[in-house]
């Protein structure tokens, strides 16, 4: 597997501009001869499809929802970062770059992160121009708030619905191109495989989820922007349809999968209510600007709260442990996510958790309301407070919120080079689906930034460069008549038939839940060698059981959510094992990956830069063979490797 990252020469601040100058261009008149397939209509896919169409290429765009506007980016709440330094508080492209590399615990590729910081300002300009109603100050200027892991206020937001507004911005540009006939949109279509011709990605096989029809689509290249794989845990903050299928199918066709074990557990989610739970709800990190996180100092008090004999408000000040403020005085409640989550878990492990299940800590707005008044808090977080009350039945203006960490984001993803091209030539990967910018931990408000950076400002260049290199004579030469399409289509159909024919006794959902339990317990917030080894065996056994005993009712001709679910769970079953293998291989702790064997005396993550300063990239070698590991070394020329401290 060739892992040449193709990082351009020169000083880091000049790499991207120099690279752009050197890229091959496609003459505007020739662009209409090319056809680009974009899978995904979230921030990354939607922005890429719209921008490429705007440049003159023909684009086919796919999503599994009934409208591109419903991609999961819509659910992002808190905000998007940019290095505008509107607050005059010392921000700069370099600082955003530095914070992101440090936040990622020195496991991201410097050059990519620098470019991300560099284009961050263009993103805000672009979004404002397309009508995103960001929050503003009375003077009419854009407003900012702070997010975890940064000491400057660089986060732009649209109430608690930033993702929605950014996505609607991209969707409106996409809609314009659909209206102009430059983009053909395929809603309710699920990509089930990639087609390669002479080693290059030249198409995909999709299933129309409304009619059941399986069809072939050919293009000059393929862009995957299919989001993250957090649903491998069953319970997560992701939408129900989020899947690893597109990325995993690409992996099985030769794309390297990088750092699958890097997953983010978000500290502020609503605790699990019980067995019937289907998803977890995030309470935006922005709440930690004003909310204070605490548990009682004593386990006895916590027990009384759990039993409902005492309320959080009854606990006097000196019996409260504001553990983030105590442990990380300089960042306090805004310590990064991995660190805050682990601290909450620790407090609960000590018996000081306060939800009925013992798994919860308080996020308290009492002091902020006293200081700024209820109205100010309502203005900042009104919709989040309403959402909390709607779900739990408690009023957070009166009683402290209860929160607990939950799976939220996946830093791992398909390996890509500086051009966002995977190890399959002609297959580009953007947004959460790639591994590129966040290392072992993502800072808040940086995923939206990355999705839009990839979609608006990187892919439109690098995809053009690839097409330019292929030459105009190659444009549109591969059609769905090529035998490679028939072959892959037959595989896809065989798999669907297989799922429908097993006729066992257990539902796909039930298998998914069982898989999630294994992964959460053994590959979640704390991982150990023994646990991971067990998990691999358990997942293998569960997978075997799945293929013998899953029951998929209904048929393949038409809408069948059970069949869709079964296909996704089947991929999670294989992918879960890959995740555990990656976690087992990485004998260090870094960011969201915490191996209990590797911690400092104070319980902080202990990296091993000498042996693990690399991207772990997995190559599929067959269903019965173990995957192969490849390494991309991470070389830091601009940021000095240091122990990450937020004290």
């Amino acid at each position: 597997m060739n892992l040449d990252a193709k990082i351009p020469e020169g000083p880091i601040a000049e790499k991207w501009s120099k690279h752009k100058v050197k890229m091959k261009l496609v003459n505007p008149a020739n662009r209409r001869k090319y056809h680009i397939i974009v899978v995904g209509s979230g921030l990354a896919g939607g922005a890429a499809a719209a921008s490429l169409a705007e440049q003159g290429y023909n684009v086919s765009c796919f999503c599994y929802q009934d409208s591109p506007r419903r991609a999961h980016s819509i659910a992002a709440q808190g905000g998007i970062n940019a290095a505008k330094n509107y607050q005059n508080d010392g921000d700069s492209v370099y600082r955003l770059f530095y914070d992101t590399v440090k936040g990622g615990d020195y496991r991201a590729r410097e050059a990519n992160v620098y470019r991300l910081a560099e284009v961050s300002n263009n993103i805000i300009d672009q979004c404002v121009a397309s009508g995103v109603p960001f929050a503003r100050e009375y003077g009419g200027q854009l407003a900012n708030r702070s997010f975890g892991g940064a000491q400057v206020a660089r986060t732009f937001y649209a109430r608690g619905q930033t993702g929605q507004q950014l996505l609607l911005g991209a969707y409106s540009s996409l809609s314009r191109q659909i209206g102009l006939g430059k983009v053909t949109m395929y809603n309710r279509h699920e990509m089930l495989d990639v087609v390669k011709v002479d080693g290059h990605a030249k198409g995909i096989i999709v299933r129309n989820m409304a009619t059941g029809e399986v069809s072939r689509h050919a293009g000059d290249c393929v862009v995957l922007a299919t989001g993250g794989y957090g649903n491998v845990f069953f319970l997560s903050t992701n939408a129900q349809g989020c899947n690893v299928t597109a990325a995993y199918r690409a992996y099985k066709r030769g794309a390297g999968f990088a750092n699958p074990c890097y997953t983010q557990i978000h500290p502020t989610c609503i605790p699990v209510h019980g067995e019937q739970q289907s998803k977890l709800t995030l309470m935006s990190e922005s709440l930690r600007n004003d909310g204070r996180v605490w548990v009682p100092k004593s386990a006895e008090t916590a027990q009384k709260i759990r039993e409902g004999k005492l309320s959080g408000n009854d606990v006097p000040e000196d019996e409260r442990d504001y553990f983030l403020e105590r442990k990380y005085p300089s960042f306090g409640n805004l310590a990064p996510r991995d660190i805050s989550s682990r601290a909450a878990k620790e407090a609960c492990d000590e018996g000081r958790g306060i939800a009925a299940t013992g798994l919860g800590v308080f996020l308290d707005f009492r002091d902020a309301i006293k200081r700024d008044g209820r109205k100010a808090i309502e203005e900042r977080y009104g919709n989040l407070f309403d959402m909390y009350e709607c779900i739990t039945g408690d009023n957070p203006y009166q009683v402290p919120m209860m929160i607990f960490p939950a799976v939220h984001y996946t830093m791992g993803g398909l390996w890509v080079d500086y051009n966002l091209e995977s190890t399959i030539p002609g297959m580009f990967v953007g947004g959460e689906a790639n591994f590129s910018d966040h290392g072992a931990n993502r800072l808040g408000a940086s995923a939206l930034m990355q999705g839009l950076a990839d979609g608006y400002f990187v892919l439109p260049y690098t995809v053009g460069n690839y097409l330019g290199e292929q030459g105009v004579a190659a444009a549109g030469q591969i059609t769905t008549e090529h035998p490679a399409f028939a072959e892959v289509e037959a595989d896809v159909k065989a798999r669907i038939d297989k799922l429908l024919s097993i006729n066992g006794t257990e539902s796909p959902r039930s298998f998914h839940k069982r898989l999630g339990q294994i992964i959460w317990e053994k590959c979640g917030m704390a991982r150990s060698k023994a646990g991971l080894q067990e998990a691999i065996q358990e997942v293998q056994a569960l997978r075997k059981e799945f293929w013998e005993n899953v029951r998929v009712v209904g048929d393949a001709d038409g809408i069948n959510p059970e069949l869709e679910k079964a296909g996704r769970v089947a991929d999670f079953m294989e992918f879960g094992e890959l995740m555990c293998r990656d976690a087992l291989m990485r004998e260090e702790s870094c960011g969201g990956h915490f191996r209990v064997e590797h911690q400092t005396e104070e319980g902080e993550a202990k990296r091993d830069d000498e042996n693990f300063s690399f991207v772990g990239v997995w190559e599929y070698l067959g269903d019965d063979a173990e995957p192969g590991l490849h390494r991309e070394s991470l070389i830091y020329e601009n940021v000095k490797l240091a122990t990450r401290s937020y004290k």
Partner: protein, 256 residues
């Protein structure tokens, strides 16, 4: 201990667009009051699968009230009894033990039923494609703070832009009008300085497409506002009417 309830569900079952549907009754036991409405349907579906029967098909994704995918009429009200709440955010504590709950798809001619509770809402996308955008090329935008926008204007645009495109407004309207949806989008863009250059074109194109898709006219009944999970205000419709009228007058003179 968590409280549970037993329910009787009357659910609309329809194989596909070509066949007729009917209500089917299902008893359901031990639903936790902390469960969401869709989690309650998950339980029903798991039981149906266990009996080898096809589960109830319904659209849903985020389960956080923001993607606008979930779409069902519960006891006669789009998204159910709770004000400003989508079906996925509705929790069972608002129902009681022994209750009968009727669940059916959006009923509106422009939104044909595809299966059970799933309807086709692509007409909304086509209204957007006609004019729901601000034309501008990625990379050509000016510095974001170059054009100050009064906070009040930005807040108003945000109120309008909060629409999740679920279609409850259409389902609730006796005329199946899509005015609230269209008006919200037009109000969002037409109120911002960036959206002004295309103000007239946008209003005309979106309203024309809306009419062409078979949505009914607005007769100021107000059911749409009452069911809107994002509380989009009827004032938006008033603004659209003004923008549309002004645009028509201008286009008339231009034509002359």
């Amino acid at each position: 201990m968590e409280k549970t309830m037993n329910l009787t569900l009357k659910v609309w079952r329809q194989k596909n667009a070509a066949t007729d549907g009917q209500f089917v009754e299902y008893p359901l036991k031990d639903v936790s009051e902390d469960s969401s409405f869709l989690e309650m349907l998950d339980i029903l579906n798991e039981e149906l699968v266990e009996q080898g029967k096809e589960p109830v098909a319904f659209d849903h994704d985020c389960r956080e009230g923001i993607c606008g995918t979930c779409s069902m009429t519960i006891n006669g009200t789009a998204h159910g009894p709770q004000r400003a709440t989508t079906a996925c955010q509705l929790h069972m504590r608002h129902f009681h033990d022994g209750q009968t709950i009727t669940i059916e798809p959006w009923r509106a001619k422009p939104f044909p039923v595809m299966k059970d509770l799933i309807v086709d809402r692509t007409p909304f996308d086509r209204i957007m494609q006609a004019g729901g955008f601000i034309t501008g090329r990625a990379g050509s935008a000016v510095e974001a703070n170059a054009m100050p926008i009064p906070k009040g204007t930005a807040d108003y645009a945000m109120d309008a832009a909060a629409c999740i495109g679920c279609g409850a407004c259409v389902a609730a309207c006796p005329n199946a009008s899509a005015m609230l949806f269209t008006a919200a989008k037009v109000a969002h863009m037409n109120s911002l300085p960036q959206g002004k250059p295309e103000k007239d074109r946008r209003a005309l194109a979106m309203v024309t497409t809306m009419d062409g898709e078979g949505f009914g006219g607005c007769t100021n009944i107000g059911e749409c506002e009452a069911v809107c999970p994002k509380e989009i205000s009827l004032d938006m419709i008033a603004q659209l009417n003004r923008d549309y009228a002004a645009a028509q007058v201008k286009s008339f003179f231009k034509a002359v």
